[in-house]
């Protein structure tokens, strides 16, 4: 019986340790990813408010980790990263809007040129 209890206790302890180790790994991964995204976004002209909020959330996530609140820390680290990704997505969207606008104008100018040349051709043919 003692042997059984010992065996069970060992299994439970190992499971707890493994679980703890896997949580640590996950939070470290999330914090690392959020930090890497933060570094990536420093070069870009992104929304300063979003960046500031994301940085503060990353710091809070680190603090939560220190307090042993791993799940909360991980969720907050993920949120920090997501805010920066959102800022990047919005920035790309703005760039695409500008490209689209410029191209629309160029296309309109081309269409006008086409009409002009067509009218020249019509005149030449009528002469």
């Amino acid at each position: 019986m003692k042997a059984r209890i010992l065996a069970c206790s060992t299994v439970i302890a190992l499971a707890a340790l493994t679980g703890c180790s896997s949580s640590q790994s996950a939070i470290n991964r999330s914090l690392g990813q959020a930090e890497a995204t933060r570094i990536l976004t420093t070069d870009n002209k992104l929304d300063i408010n979003i960046k500031s909020s994301a940085n503060s959330k990353l710091e809070n996530a680190r603090a939560l980790k220190e307090d042993g609140k791993i799940e909360e820390a991980q969720a907050l680290a993920e949120q920090s990263e997501l805010e920066m990704r959102l800022a990047i997505a919005k920035s790309e969207n703005e760039a695409a809007k500008n490209d689209d606008k410029k191209l629309e104008e160029a296309l309109r100018a081309d269409e006008e040129r086409k009409v002009l040349y067509q009218s020249i051709l019509d005149k030449e043919i009528r002469k």
Binding site: E72, A75, Q79, E104, A106, L107, D110, K114, Y117
Partner: protein, 295 residues
């Protein structure tokens, strides 16, 4: 008693409304799922980044479901719901960006097609213009060739008429054309009758005129200021007409000829001297080029 009733009814109503509110409240899991589904519905088929983002969002949804099932009061739930909403928002923005990029690609194709059309039109304009240019060039060359031919013909005639130059026939050229001035020595004195020498010269002129059909001849009789004006006018007219008739006899079409007597009205020299009067007594054959009049 009344107060107790009111309180009882109020408590019942509050409890009922709380029950209904709890039943109608959307669970965090559903909030997350709805946000992701909404974002998914607006994505273009080639929005792969957005789809990957959504896949991560669905991962969060799974985590949320597990945590919510274990403990629906977990502190991490609100953050996970927010994260879920962020995934949905990012996916939506990425989807919009892809839609814009798709339109940009379409517009580049449209531009390329429009520019190809413009090039084709420009080529057609070039062809239309070069065709006209070559037509015009050919026309110009033809005109020039005709002009050169006429000029050569005129020069040839001029050379032949110049050969008639003698003491009695002066050949000159002015704006009207070639002028052959025949001295009155070639006429009988005071008469309009042609002398043999004049007839010989006129026959040669008729020969030239028959070859160079572009020439018309205006025959102008002139006198000096001696004698009456009426006599001089009549004499000059008669002499001009006699010259014209002779040319007609030589086969020159009458419609190429005209004759008029100018009397003493058109002197070319001083009538006060013998030499001047001599010069003024003359018949001028003004030979004009009909083709030049047309041009």
């Amino acid at each position: 008693m009344k107060t107790i009733k009111i309180l009882t009814l109020g408590t019942f109503a509050l409890a009922t409304s709380m029950v209904f509110a709890a039943e109608n409240a959307i669970s965090p899991v559903d909030q997350c799922r709805i946000a992701l589904e909404n974002a998914k519905s607006s994505l273009p088929s080639n929005a792969f980044s957005a789809k990957l983002t959504l896949a991560e969002g669905y991962g969060t949804l799974t985590a949320l479901e597990t945590i919510y099932a274990d403990d629906d009061d977990s502190k991490v739930i609100p953050t996970l719901v927010e994260n879920c909403a962020k995934y949905a928002e990012i996916a939506k923005v990425q989807g919009e960006t892809q839609t814009l990029r798709n339109r940009i690609a379409e517009n580049w194709e449209k531009r390329a097609a429009t520019n190809r059309t413009i090039e084709a039109i420009q080529e057609q304009i070039g062809t239309a213009r070069s065709g006209k240019v070559s037509d015009l060039e050919a026309e110009k060359q033809e005109i020039k060739a005709q002009k050169d031919k006429l000029e050569a013909s005129k020069q040839e005639a001029m050379d032949k008429l110049n050969a008639l130059q003698s003491q009695m026939i002066q050949v000159t050229k002015d704006a009207r054309g070639i002028i052959l001035s025949m001295s009155d020595i070639l006429f009988e004195v005071g008469q309009a009758t042609l002398k043999t020498d004049l007839m010989t010269s006129l026959a040669k002129i008729a020969g030239i005129l028959s070859v160079y059909q572009q020439f018309d001849v205006s025959i102008e009789g002139n006198t000096d200021n001696t004698g009456s004006e009426e006599f001089n006018l009549k004499l000059s007219q008669q002499r001009a007409e006699n010259v014209m008739n002779f040319l007609v006899e030589q086969g020159i079409a009458q419609n190429r000829l005209s004759a008029k007597g100018l009397g003493m009205t058109m002197p070319i020299a001083d009538n006060s001297t013998k030499e001047g009067r001599q010069k003024n007594r003359r018949v001028d054959l003004v030979i004009t080029d009909r083709t030049q009049k047309v041009q």
